[in-house]
Symmetry: none
Subunit: 218 residues, 2 copies
């Protein structure tokens, strides 16, 4: 069972706690504001009222074993950087940081994190696409009978190229993205020459029945 | 050419202004904080320093002809509700409101808007799915530098097949869907043999620079 820790119960932090708890994960939260910890107490595994910039406190939480830690300390940029530093020293692998400004993002990037979350910028980007009727993502699930799925490649695909496999003609499906494990990389619009590894994850678009057929291959 | 108005240059509002301006739309912004209007002046069509809750000011802006108005007044919930009311009285059809809390969202919903934007909640939702490796649809816009766009085919594409055009190798882009006008039909996972008509709309995935190159073709 996965465990996630959320440091800082800003609006984003509170919703992360709720959505992760809804997915039945263990959720540990830390905030120095008692009322905010109270607000999520009913659905989190452990709610800790403490100053996250106190390193011993962080160490006692056993965060090294968490699947990921999300830092959401709002405008307290210096606090978020301290906590980020301590999490790295503790040995946490997956760290997500919610940032407040472009500069905050740049500093966090220099320190290095798994991913930066910038809700205002991301939703503005998404909104700008949709307002322009441009975002087919809202469109794809609305095309009856079609889906996009993640697929671990069947053993028979390993070592073959997309060109060899000719999935579009054989199964009527399209590989639109490949998530590679090594190197940790995302290939958007893979070419026919891409050689499939066992560790790849294929993101495939197609008719539901065709995707089912693909999933049943060995 | 489309026109959009942004009332309130919060972080979200500023990014909306930027992303819409980048798509070559006319962007009008209103904020009573001079420094915020200054920050976006270089790329918006018109920057107005004024109190948006002053109805005559709003009326003078000719917002009735805007394709959409985005309200992003942050924690000034009462101001956002007043502005929302006035926009409806002025006769603006498409109104988007960025909300701060669940309750703010409920009140706005009672008044009625085209769409509510709640960045912190939306990104938490997306993040919770991704952290669980479950939903690639939110994955696509978050792959930095890539987009999905609608494209009317350049004249030179008419009558050619996707195989002839070989866009993946020529431009590094992938046509994932084709919306046909005649017959009114959507082709998902088009094959290499698909012959492009002038009336088709191509849904293309690729790196932003490559999509720009594609858009500039004749
Ligand atoms: N040193 C600290 N230790 C623990 N919690 C902290 C510390 N500093 C700040 N916090 C908490 O971090 C949270 C920051 O939330 P805040 O509401 O300021 O963020 P925000 O920028 O408004 O984010 P959002 O856009 O998600 O609402 C608060 O709950 C605050 O109590
Ligand atoms: N009556 C008003 N008329 C015009 N502008 C206003 C009015 N009231 C507030 N504003 C503007 O609305 C903006 C609200 O931004 P603010 O930074 O408070 O939002 P926020 O909740 O932090 O949003 P974000 O999460 O996008 O940063 C400010 O730029 C402020 O000047």
């Amino acid at each position: 069972k996965k465990t996630f820790a959320i440091i800082g119960l800003s609006t984003f932090g509170q919703y992360m706690a709720r959505f992760l708890a809804e997915r039945k994960f263990d959720v540990i939260v830390v905030d120095n504001d008692e009322s905010r910890v109270e607000r999520v107490k009913s659905f989190v595994t452990k709610g800790i009222i403490a100053d996250a910039t106190d390193k011993p406190t962080l160490e006692r939480l056993g965060l090294k074993d968490a699947d990921a830690v999300i830092v959401s300390l709002g405008e307290f940029i210096d606090a978020s950087l301290l906590v980020l530093l301590y999490l790295k020293e503790i040995g946490v692998d997956e760290i997500y940081v919610k940032v407040l400004t472009e500069d905050h993002a740049k500093i966090v990037n220099l320190v290095g994190v798994t991913e930066i979350i910038f809700p205002e910028k991301d939703s503005a980007f998404t909104m700008a696409q949709r307002i322009d009727n441009c975002n087919v993502l809202d469109f794809i699930p609305l095309v009856e009978g079609y889906s996009i799925i993640d697929l671990a490649p069947p053993a028979s695909f390993s070592g073959k190229t997309l060109g060899d496999l000719d999935l579009r003609n054989k199964y009527g499906v399209q590989v639109i993205i490949i998530k590679q494990a090594t190197p940790d990389n995302v290939v958007v619009v893979p070419t026919a020459g891409h050689c499939i590894k066992q560790s790849d994850i294929l993101i495939v678009l197609g008719r539901n029945e065709d995707l089912e057929q693909l999933k049943s291959l060995e």
